[in-house]
């Protein structure tokens, strides 16, 4: 009885290994289907999670953003305007392209550290750090030729004829000098920091 049992076990294990070594077409297909579904679920989940971190709700879930920059932004044209188009935080601060978005998200992980250490946890701390933070973002925007602004705007598609005199003149000069949006539009959605120098303005 015991011999038979051990033989059966050997047959079974040998059979499993053999089956794994030479899987049937059905099991291969099954595995592929399961892998595909898991892949979709993982990718979908990952993307959903990433998109969740791109929403305004997520961005202002921290009081640091909600009480400072968000309140300033709410008074600007990117929040409310005659056409009803709104640019939320991520539209300006997170690249749309997947690769650059991933890089930006990884960089943004340091903001979690900032949250933990409370580096801008009070209005006073925020003001003290505003210039440094703004300069970092201005440098990023300039380095990519104001890519996020250009997702919606471009000098080439601007009809300066219908702009106000001052805007027309400034945009014509910008085009002539190959400038980028952020060169002039610092403070377009948030209060300009105190202590800016001439270097901050070109």
């Amino acid at each position: 009885m015991s011999d038979r049992d051990s033989n059966t076990k050997q047959e079974q294990s040998g059979g499993l290994l053999a089956r794994l070594r030479r899987p049937s077409k059905k099991s291969l297909g099954g595995l592929l289907a399961v892998g595909f579904v898991i892949g979709i679920l993982f990718w979908g989940g990952f993307n959903t999670a990433m998109e969740a971190t791109n929403t305004e709700t997520f961005c202002i879930s921290c009081h640091e953003m909600h009480d400072n920059v968000y309140q300033e932004y709410k008074t600007t044209i990117h929040y409310s305007n005659r056409t009803g188009v709104r640019a939320v935080c991520s539209d300006c601060h997170v690249p749309k392209d997947w690769t650059y978005k991933m890089i930006r998200k990884i960089q943004a992980s340091r903001e979690v550290w900032g949250k933990i250490t409370g580096s801008i946890s009070t209005p006073e701390k925020f003001e003290a750090k505003r210039l440094e933070l703004a300069r970092r973002e201005w440098a990023r925007m300039k380095s990519v030729d104001s890519r996020e602004c250009r997702n919606c705007h471009s000098l080439e598609s601007m009809n300066t004829e219908v702009q106000k005199q001052r805007a027309r003149k400034q945009h014509e000069l910008a085009l002539e000098d190959k400038m980028t949006c952020i060169d002039c539009h610092k403070g377009i959605a948030h209060t300009k920091p105190q202590g800016m120098t001439d270097e901050d303005e070109m």
């Binding site: 106000k164 003149k169 400034q170 000069l173 002039c184 120098t197």
Partner: protein, 290 residues
Amino acid sequence: MKKTMIAGAVGALLAFGAGGAFAAAPDWGKVDAKEITLFYPGVSPLEWIQKGTEHGGARALRKGETCADCHSDETADMGKKIASGQKLEPNPIPGKAPFIPVTVQAAHDGENLYLRFSWKQPAASGAPKMDDANPVKIAFMLESGGKVELADQSGCWATCHQDSRTMPGADDAKKKYVKGGSLADGKFYDLYQWRSGENKGFNGHVADSRVMEGGAALVSAEGKQDGDAWSVVFTRKLAGGEGDVTLEAGKSYNFGFAIHNDNSAGRYHHVSLGYKLGIDADGDVKAAKH
């Protein structure tokens, strides 16, 4: 006979002389009019307009653009923003007129330049009077050849500094001036003013400091108020003495003007951007021979 001839000659001379002074004044109804809107500038001196962190147009200014190139269409809006204290005015005066549209006309007769300013009196603010004697003062300045730094671009701003009286924290004795101001080098603004209370014209200049007297070009400055309509006519010789800009046909000059309305003084005036006055020449305001 002799007496008659002498009397006739004297009469003719007097008539000619009188004609030179009065008969040449133009028929203003036939002179082209230019609308220029003065605005309340708050604290926006020469130093401010050149500061890129404060004034978005500082870069354009460095590139040679004029203030009017960007702002001539929006002076009324600028005045509203500043007079309300939204920008550039630490001490907003409730009810202060944000802007004053003015009609400017100019003509000359080969000897004199005639400048006429007319505008509607804005509502009084009811604020304490800064200049008790004069409800209204109007002044214009001329500069020749852009010898004063930024005169070609900024008009009167080249005389307006953050350390001049009535600016925040400034010395009360410090008046307008231009950088490197010197009559000998031609680095100055020729200044004319009419004061309503005193009913008097002044002809001075702004070089290293502002002086209200000393000019030899002003012939007359006459103003009148008809209801709420003001009109002031300056007559000045095209030629002039020290501290006067000599005006020549075929040339344009830097030109700006300002009104102290509502018994105001110092920086609490309404100002124009910098414009060009052409004497038989191109300009924002053209003085043609009549």
